[in-house]
């Protein structure tokens, strides 16, 4: 049971990275810390081409040449930008010190027409339409598309396929299609192709699957044998393979209610489907206007029948511990849980479960033979397993103080009467802030401030904390 728990624990930690986005990162070739060499190869070719593009762009449009190598570097190495959830291919707006005054990105005004208006899909579409209307010749469309890509998140349309298609539709059709073999051999209109790839890249990062219309547009704009089209085909291939790769799927939109979220988290940690979630306390607020002022935090717990039975068997002379808080990431949300656990029984005190002689009325449960399984038929691997003590229950609460957790233990006593006899020791970790900060001494120094995706080792780090840090054990 305990081992299962920890496995699941690990799994739960991993799943904060939504399957599709995770897959997407691999496809795009922005390697995570354990990128595959194959992916790297793709990446290399592409960044070479990007280098090409950069050079061409530099000569053609007169952008500062110095930008190119940095871009190659950025996509070759696992950079902070790669870890960002926003596209790595979208160039950042020029930094303020470069211009004498605060230079606006071109076309920025299109998105600032009605600052007081709500930022939603309609206004975003309006901006895109305005661009098309004002700019009959579509001058500067690449810049506009980059800008629009950056703005998508603000408008909450980063997961809308129709919007992406609309952005692609801005490109003039048939102009960038290579017409002869030489054009086909070299990257034709590299800046535009780059931009097309950037659109697809951002779709990828948000897990948006391109559709027929995207394909049609790309063919119309860049032709069938172009880099955006290659990207499209690869997305089509790998997205479908990776879409359901996560064995612990999460709903795309997490519930907003903390109680529902906690329930979801608990069910993700506990692999046993018979386990029951109990709400020990519903949240209530001191005064209705200020929601941050919690009078009673929510307390939810989960316990499976096996855990209940294990707790009933537990020797009351041995204390059990409430430990936590440990963090669990569900997509971009972090929640904290506590466990009720006991130490592993010393070897000499363990009882071997013996098969009672008079058990099965129908057939012998054991054969009375003195030879064992032959070595040739023993397929069990010789595994050194680190045994852990049993975990009896898990809880998620709105507050992590001892009073709240004591309420949980009280609630547990109703279904586990033996708990009343067992001393419970509260081993509280530090404040939540401490948990949030990446603890030093991890194998991999964080390259960027954690953005809600890459915190797998977090809880292990927490567990490894020194005992001295725990507050003094206290009996309930």
């Amino acid at each position: 049971m305990t081992r299962k728990f920890s496995e699941q624990h690990g799994g739960a930690q991993r799943q904060d990275r939504p399957g599709l986005e995770y897959a997407a990162r691999r496809v795009s070739g922005c390697p995570s810390s354990r990128g595959m060499s194959g992916v790297r190869a793709i990446l290399l070719t592409r960044s070479l081409s990007r280098g090409w593009g950069g050079i061409c762009r530099a000569t053609l449009s007169g952008t500062p040449f110095s930008q190119v190598p940095s871009q190659i570097l950025r996509s070759l190495h696992c950079s902070a930008a790669a870890r960002n959830s926003d596209s790595s291919l979208v160039p950042h707006p020029p930094e303020p010190p470069r211009g004498p005054a605060k230079a606006l990105a071109p076309h920025e005004e299109l998105f600032r027409q009605a600052p007081e208006a709500v930022r939603d899909k309609a206004s975003f579409l309006q901006a895109v339409q305005n661009f098309a209307q004002h700019n009959v010749h579509k001058r500067g469309h690449v810049d506009f598309i980059y800008l629009a890509l950056r703005k998508m998140r603000e408008y909450g349309v980063e997961r809308d396929l129709a919007v992406y298609n609309l952005l692609l539709d801005i490109f003039p059709k048939e102009v960038f299609r290579p017409r002869n073999i030489f054009q086909r051999m070299f990257v034709h209109y590299p800046r535009q192709q780059e931009c097309g790839i950037a659109v697809l890249e951002q779709m990828e990062n948000h897990g948006v699957m391109p559709n027929k219309e995207t394909e049609f547009l790309l063919i119309q704009i860049f032709g069938r044998r172009s880099y955006p089209m290659l990207k499209f085909v690869r997305m089509k291939l790998w997205f479908s393979r990776f879409k359901n790769i996560n064995p612990f799927p999460l709903p795309r939109d997490l519930p907003q209610d903390p109680v529902d979220l906690a329930r979801l988290g608990l069910q993700h940690i506990e692999p046993n489907l018979s386990a029951k979630v109990t709400i020990y306390q519903m949240p209530s607020f001191k005064d209705s206007t200020d929601s941050s002022d919690l009078a009673k935090p929510h307390i939810l717990g989960i316990q499976s029948p096996d855990q209940q039975a294990a707790l009933a068997r537990h020797d009351p002379a041995r204390p059990i511990f409430v430990e936590g808080p440990f963090s669990l990431w569900l997509r971009d949300k972090c929640i904290y849980y506590h466990i009720l656990r006991a130490d592993l029984l010393p070897l000499e005190e363990r009882k071997v479960e013996e098969i009672p002689e008079e058990w099965n009325l129908y057939y012998p449960m054991q054969l009375d033979l003195d030879y064992e399984r032959s070595r040739w038929d023993d397929y069990e691997f010789d595994i050194d397993e680190v045994e852990e003590g049993p975990v009896f229950a898990i809880c998620m609460a709105g507050a992590h103080d001892q009073a709240t957790l004591a309420k949980w233990i009280q609630g547990l006593q109703e279904t586990n009467p033996t708990l009343a006899q067992i001393p419970v020791v509260f081993r509280q970790g530090g404040s939540i802030g401490e948990v949030l900060a990446p603890s030093p001494g991890l194998e991999e120094p964080p390259l960027s401030p954690p953005e809600g995706q890459e915190e797998e080792e977090e809880s292990d780090g927490n567990r490894a904390r020194d005992e001295s840090e725990w507050s003094k054990g206290q009996r309930l």
Binding site: Y362, D370, Y371
Partner: protein
């Protein structure tokens, strides 16, 4: 068995008449005493009842004639419970690759006198069942009407195997099996009677002392009291709320005859009262057939037993509990799929005071009692099913030969003919197996035939389900409607696979009991092999080499002085070959798995299946040989059936045995386990819908 050359004279019957007349008078007196009790049924059916009770008296008179044998049986039954095998049992020897010919050849016979006697029994019972029993009404009302019950009582069918001095018919196993063929015409009555005497009162016959027998058996045999067997308990989680019991228990327990297989889960408790005169019984039992009708219960409960070393342990003890002891209540009858006329319900005991003299067997010896009861009664299912199938074949053949389709009779279509061949073959095999087993059981000395009986049960229940299903296929729509009896037969047949130990559990029993036997004998050899004794290793290697080169196995079944007739000689050779390689396979399996084979259920299932086939082959060969030699009617048909079955079974066995080889490509166990593991992990069918898309 009397000597060598005589073969199968089941029992000597000499000078029975003198004792018989005395018995007769005694019986008549008892019958007279019993008469007034039967009266309050009403005047209208008085005549019929008189006639029937006449028939019953006649039956009893015939039964009395065998009192000498009964006396023998009686003295023998006082022996302690039979636990140790008497001689070398046939099925166990098969595990060593040997055919114990003496046990199965020639086919058991009954003497002419006995045959006449059986036929005298059969006539009135058959008449009663065809004329008086309305199965459809029983099924619809969910109840056996009182007059039917009275009829059964007056025919003496409530005490078929109760010894005669206790007022039963004292039938031998063979005769009991023969009557079972007729009784099975109604499923509910069969189950009700089986619960009464095959398990309900069997405990008293097997383990009861003289006083208990004298006190309870006469009234049970006459049907004045009905017995029930209370073993199964509700699952632990359901115990907090007594009803309804959760249906998961169905999978592992056997419902209708009322027993679960997990003895450790029994929580009904009997505590000794302060004056040490009574046990106070508390607890509930579920799935008790006859629970609502019974007056006498065989109840299994936990008692505290002090061990020899002074430690106190909970052990199971069997009790005879009368309803009159007080505190016995029962729930409402369960609404069942089939055998709807039988009464199945929960029984609760609340502070029931059971006198200490009502302990059945020893205190703390309940487990053995239960095991013996359960093991003793299984063989009779073979003949019961055969009786039902024979009738079914008649009815469907009538349909197939009259109904026309595409201006052809149904019987002319190959696919229909196939089904009749299947039904005939299965019936023939199960009949042969059942009567062979009954004959073995009737030999003096209480042979241990529990494996054989279990094989009969497994084969016949599965054949019943298959055949009834095929019959429904022949009948088409009319098989599916309630106007005809076929759908009822289908529903009734389904329980056969479940009760008296589910077939899965019995397969484990068959395989493990045999492997235990073989394992003990092979211990020395296996140890030498493991130690690497050169001679043994060389011997084994040489044997394997000869096996692979193709050896001709001869166990002496065929040939000039062979046990089987030459017309089934080929089949006998097939049997010999199968048995030889089965023995080899068992040895290999034991070498490979050792005692951990108890966990390899899929391997055990194959072992059991092969053994059932081998036993079936032996039974039909033995029976067909006898039929030819004594020139029974249509023996050529029997030869045909025997040969087809043996060939089919031979190839099945070859396939199964090859699956048991290591790394056999036919063996998909690992995959099967993986599939089920993945399904069970999610507790759902996990494939995506075929119409789903990823984009």
């Amino acid at each position: 068995r009397s000597g060598g050359e005589g073969g199968w004279v089941l029992r000597k019957r000499n000078a029975a008449s003198g004792v018989g007349t005395g018995e007769w008078r005694h019986r008549a007196a008892r019958a007279k005493l019993a008469r007034p009790r039967a009266e309050p049924g009403g005047g209208a059916c008085g005549l019929r009842r008189l006639r029937m009770s006449g028939g019953g008296l006649f039956l009893r008179a015939a039964a009395v004639a065998r009192s000498w044998r009964a006396l023998v049986a009686f003295t023998a039954s006082r022996r302690p419970l039979r636990t140790s095998p008497r001689g070398r049992a046939f099925a166990k020897e098969l595990f060593l690759g040997k055919i114990e010919k003496k046990e199965v050849f020639p086919f058991p016979e009954v003497s002419q006198d006995e045959l006449n006697e059986i036929n005298q029994f059969v006539g009135p019972v058959e008449k009663f069942f065809t004329e008086e029993v309305d199965s459809r009404k029983i099924d619809r009302d969910g109840k056996i009407p009182n007059e039917t019950l009275e009829g059964l009582k007056s025919l003496g069918l409530f005490g078929m195997q109760v010894p005669e001095e206790y007022g039963g018919l004292g039938l031998s196993n063979t005769m009991y099996a023969r009557l079972g063929e007729i009784i099975s015409l109604d499923g509910s009555i069969t189950v009700m009677l089986a619960a009464h005497q095959a398990i309900g009162l069997k405990g008293i016959i097997l383990a009861g002392n003289e006083k208990q027998k004298a006190k309870y058996l006469p009234r049970l045999a006459s049907g004045e009291h009905i017995a029930a067997f209370c073993l199964t308990e509700p699952a632990r989680s359901a115990r907090a709320r007594p009803s309804p019991p959760i249906p998961t228990i169905l999978s592992s327990a056997h419902i209708c005859l009322g027993s679960g297989s997990d003895a450790a889960s029994i929580s009904t408790r009997a505590t000794l009262s302060e004056d040490k005169q009574h046990y106070i019984l508390n607890g509930s039992k579920v799935w008790i057939t006859n629970g609502g009708l019974a007056n006498i219960f065989t109840v299994f409960a936990k008692t505290k037993i002090e061990d020899s070393d002074g430690s106190v342990k909970d052990k199971i003890t069997a009790f005879i509990v009368e309803r009159d002891f007080g505190g016995v209540t029962n729930g409402k009858p369960e609404d069942k799929l089939g055998i709807r006329g039988s009464n199945t319900c929960e029984v609760h005991f609340e502070n029931t005071r059971v006198p200490v003299e009502n302990v059945l067997g020893e205190v703390g010896g309940g487990f053995k009692v239960a095991m013996n009861i359960l093991n003793s009664g299984r063989f009779s299912m073979g003949t019961a099913v055969a009786g039902m199938l024979k009738k079914l074949i008649g009815m469907t053949a009538e349909h197939a030969c009259t109904r026309k389709q595409f201006s052809k009779k149904l019987s002319e279509f190959g696919l229909i003919q196939e089904k009749f061949a299947l039904m005939a073959q299965k019936t023939y095999v199960m009949e042969s197996m059942a009567y062979l087993t009954a004959g073995m059981l009737d030999q003096p000395g209480f042979p241990d035939c529990s494996i054989e009986a279990a094989m009969v049960k497994v084969f016949s229940s599965e054949a019943a389900w298959q055949c009834v299903s095929e019959a429904l296929q022949i009948l088409g729509g009319s098989g599916y409607v309630k106007d005809y009896p076929y759908e009822r037969m289908l529903r009734d047949a389904r329980i056969l696979l479940i009760f008296e130990g589910t077939n899965e559990i019995l397969r484990m029993y068959i395989a493990l009991t045999g492997l235990q036997h073989a394992g003990r004998i092979l211990t020395a050899r296996v140890n030498e092999l493991k130690r690497g004794n050169v001679t043994t290793v060389m011997e084994t290697v040489g044997q394997r080499l000869r096996d692979t080169l193709g050896r001709r196995v001869d166990m002496g079944l065929t040939g000039t002085l062979g046990a089987v007739h030459p017309s089934v000689g080929d089949s006998a050779n097939k049997l010999e070959e199968n048995v030889y390689y089965f023995g080899r396979t068992v040895e290999t399996l034991l070498l490979r798995f050792g005692k951990t084979i108890a966990e390899e259920q899929m391997v055990l299932k194959r072992v059991a299946n092969t053994l059932i086939n081998l036993y079936g082959m032996t039974a039909v060969l033995s029976r067909a040989s006898r039929s030819i030699r004594i020139g029974l009617r249509n023996h050529d048909h029997e030869v045909l059936l025997a040969n087809t079955f043996c060939t089919e079974a031979y190839y099945q066995n070859l396939f199964t045995l090859s699956q048991l080889d290591k790394y056999a490509p036919e063996n998909l166990d690992e995959q099967v386990k993986k599939v089920s593991q993945q399904v069970l992990e999610k507790r759902a069918y996990i494939c995506a819908h075929p119409l789903d898309r990823t984009s």
